[in-house]
């Protein structure tokens, strides 16, 4: 039922197997036990503490943390590929849980590169000591996020959240929306405009903001259709004052965050693939057990054809994912395009895989207690996350044909 291990290194196979056991023994049984948990309207009560505690035990939380702070260094030349393998496997258990951890890994890598030593020491120690410690990357604003990727870079398009230096303190005012881990993070990386005469690329700075900082208010948990074990939040900054050393990158924060963006898209696609694999596995099991018309479903041609279609789509996503992740690891010039392509391709294909899973389960496919509908909902979230399909497609075309492609959008 599983796909072949082709192209994986021995370490990647071991990591994949460790994640698989964690998912099969800890995550999946807990989710199956009570499917109403994700619908609790107390966001912090949704995910049981033991899920992250067990992730902590096997070292899943420490990926991306520099070795000197107790983290686990992964091979740099295959980093995105390894993260893709792990994210896929975790998402097989739950895409929201995968999202929680993916955010932590990416921010750990970013802090390891950008934060001053004394702050790294302080915050990595806090992170390592607490299995429930989450981090969030605050980029998106209520006005929009995907437009920052559009091929224009003018002051009018810059962030509305502003940071101003007053004496030796930075003062931040603004609002961030659709922030992964935003509702329960203990540490935030916040992006704000620091030069209104420049475009986003040259006028955005990033800051390290502890949750307890006066003026920071988490205003809501965004209740979403899927990925519900990751608490997406809205955060307001009102005269948030930070010491000058909490500035991570001045004016070129988006350039400095490049190490975050491409692997980020790879991991969105990888999580998406994991949802598809889980839907496929459950469906394969079902069509071998369920009898209709005197024979198991797999023996009916129409069913068999759908199973083949699901498997083919999964293999296609998996192949492009590996290709794109390799390009990112190699720092190839086409890495950004490929990472965007696989993010878009995966979201479309996996939704179809999940649709097939729902339809092959008949009425059971729509029942909350069976769990197939969850895959469909979780996959639906991937359509927009980390860039909508349409904006991503603009970006692909603009990257391929910079001289002839239109600007598509931007200030009139």
């Amino acid at each position: 039922m599983y796909f072949q291990d082709r192209y994986l290194s021995n370490e990647q196979i071991l990591m994949r197997d460790t994640c698989r056991k964690y998912v099969d023994e800890v995550v999946a049984p807990w989710i199956r036990e009570d499917r109403s948990r994700e619908w609790s309207m107390d966001p912090q009560a949704r995910l049981a503490p033991h899920i992250l505690e067990k992730a902590d035990e096997i070292g899943l939380r420490y990926l991306g943390v520099p070795e000197e702070f107790g983290g686990i260094p992964l091979d740099a030349d295959t980093l995105s590929q390894t993260f893709a393998v792990i994210s896929t496997e975790l998402s097989r258990g739950d895409s929201g849980l995968a999202d929680k951890l993916v955010q932590n890994w990416k921010i750990s890598v970013l802090l390891g590169v950008l934060a001053p030593e004394h702050l790294k020491k302080k915050w990595f120690a806090a992170y390592m000591a607490d299995p429930q410690f989450l981090m969030a990357h605050c980029l998106t604003e209520p006005r929009g996020a995907s437009d920052r990727w559009l091929p224009y870079n003018v002051p009018e398009a810059s962030m509305e959240t502003k940071a101003v230096l007053e004496g030796d303190e930075w003062v931040i005012n603004g609002r961030k929306q659709f922030i992964s881990n935003g509702y329960d993070a203990k540490l935030y990386i916040v992006y704000a405009n620091t030069d209104s005469t420049q475009g986003t690329m040259q006028g955005t700075s990033s800051f390290l903001v502890p949750r307890e900082t006066p003026g920071l208010t988490v205003t809501r948990c965004n209740e979403t259709i899927g990925g519900r074990f990751m608490n997406n939040g809205e955060i307001v900054f009102e005269n948030v004052r930070l010491p000058a050393d909490h500035l991570l990158a001045h004016n070129d924060a988006l350039g400095k965050a490049g190490i975050y963006f491409q692997p980020g898209k790879i991991m969105v696609a990888a999580k998406n693939l994991g949802i598809g694999i889980a839907a496929y596995e459950d469906t394969v099991r079902f069509v071998h057990e369920r009898v209709q018309g005197g024979r198991v479903l797999i023996k009916h041609q129409a069913v068999a054809s759908r199973i083949a279609d699901m498997a083919t789509r999964l293999e296609a996503v998996s192949a492009l994912l590996r290709h794109a992740a390799t390009a990112v690891d190699e720092g190839s010039p086409d890495a950004a395009i490929l990472a965007t392509m696989v993010k878009v391709f995966a979201s479309d294909e996996i939704l179809k895989v999940c649709q097939n899973a729902m339809e092959l389960h008949g009425g059971y496919g729509a029942m909350v207690e069976v769990g197939i509908e969850k895959y469909f909902r979780d996959a639906a979230v991937c359509l927009h996350s980390d860039g909508t399909t349409d904006v991503s497609n603009f970006k692909i075309v603009k990257s391929m044909f910079p001289a002839t492609a239109g600007t598509y959008a931007g200030p009139e």
């Binding site: 196979i13 460790t18 056991k21 096997i58 899943l60 420490y62």
Partner: protein, 269 residues
């Protein structure tokens, strides 16, 4: 204390086995660390952890766990898994002349390595999931002239007294068996639940010593093992007969009795 754990790389136990002539096809399927060997590694780790001042295995424990394996170079993958679980080092005996070795030859080579290692304890899984002969532990003990505690599902080690005590279940009852070091122990899957490698263990295993040696390097004559000097021969291989349809018992008032009669007939109860 020095513990050797004998391990083998086998075709994935969950995949249907295919034959390549008279031997199992090992190239066409994923290869894994023999499932039962994981229990032996786990037990070795628990013994060390229980007798370590830090409570964990590794160089600071004052004890050492070495994995010993015979197989093609690809078997390093299985050894890396054992190292990821927490073993300290590994040695692989790999030589083209070893291809096709039977259990008598395998035990000869493993015993040679163990004899030169000054070990107190040798741990084995009860069998490999490919050949399923279940004879290597006993053969090793005989070749080494050591005591053997085979098939023990409970094991107590007293390091200060260099003494091992085990419990095994047999058809006639429960046996309590014990022996002084050095001793060969084999364990079934009832003994523990093997840990899975942590990410730290997986990355750390790359820095642990894994030595590959040829027969010549361990002072062994190639003519005495492998296809050149078979002790046993496979004369014929017959595929497993297809699953029969089974017997359907329809309960018309006496179903329970019929079921019991069937189970008795099959000697299940």
């Amino acid at each position: 204390m020095k513990i050797a754990v004998c391990v083998k790389q086998v075709p994935d136990s969950w995949v249907e086995k295919k034959m390549d002539g008279q031997v199992i096809d090992r190239l066409g399927v994923d290869a894994v660390l023999n499932d039962l060997d994981e229990y032996a590694i786990e037990e070795a780790l628990r013994i060390v952890e229980a007798n370590s001042p830090t409570g964990s295995a590794g160089s600071e424990s004052g004890h050492e766990i070495s994995l010993i394996c015979m197989g093609p170079e690809r078997a390093t993958e299985a050894l890396r898994k054992g190292l990821s679980m927490g073993a300290d080092n590994a040695i692989l005996i790999s030589d083209p002349s070893l291809a096709g070795s039977d259990s008598l030859a395998t035990s000869l080579v493993l015993a040679k390595v163990i004899a030169s290692g000054n070990f107190d304890l040798v741990m084995c899984g009860t069998e490999s999931t490919d050949a399923r002969m279940s004879v290597i532990p006993a053969m090793l003990a005989e070749r080494l002239g050591w005591a053997q505690l085979t098939h023990v599902h409970k094991l107590d080690i007293d390091v200060s007294k260099s003494y091992a005590q085990g419990v095994r279940s047999t058809e006639i009852g429960i046996e309590n068996i014990s022996a002084d070091f050095p001793v060969v122990v084999s364990v079934p899957d009832k003994i523990n639940v093997p840990r899975y490698p942590t990410f730290k263990g997986i990355m750390g295993s790359k820095k642990k010593p894994l030595i590959i040696k040829t027969l010549d390097e361990i002072g062994f004559a190639a003519e005495t093992v492998g296809m050149l000097a078979p002790w046993t021969a496979v004369n014929d291989v017959i595929p497993r007969p297809p699953k029969s349809k089974g017997i359907k018992i329809v309960d018309t008032g006496n179903g329970g009795n019929e079921l019991v009669a069937f189970l008795e007939e099959q000697r299940v109860i």
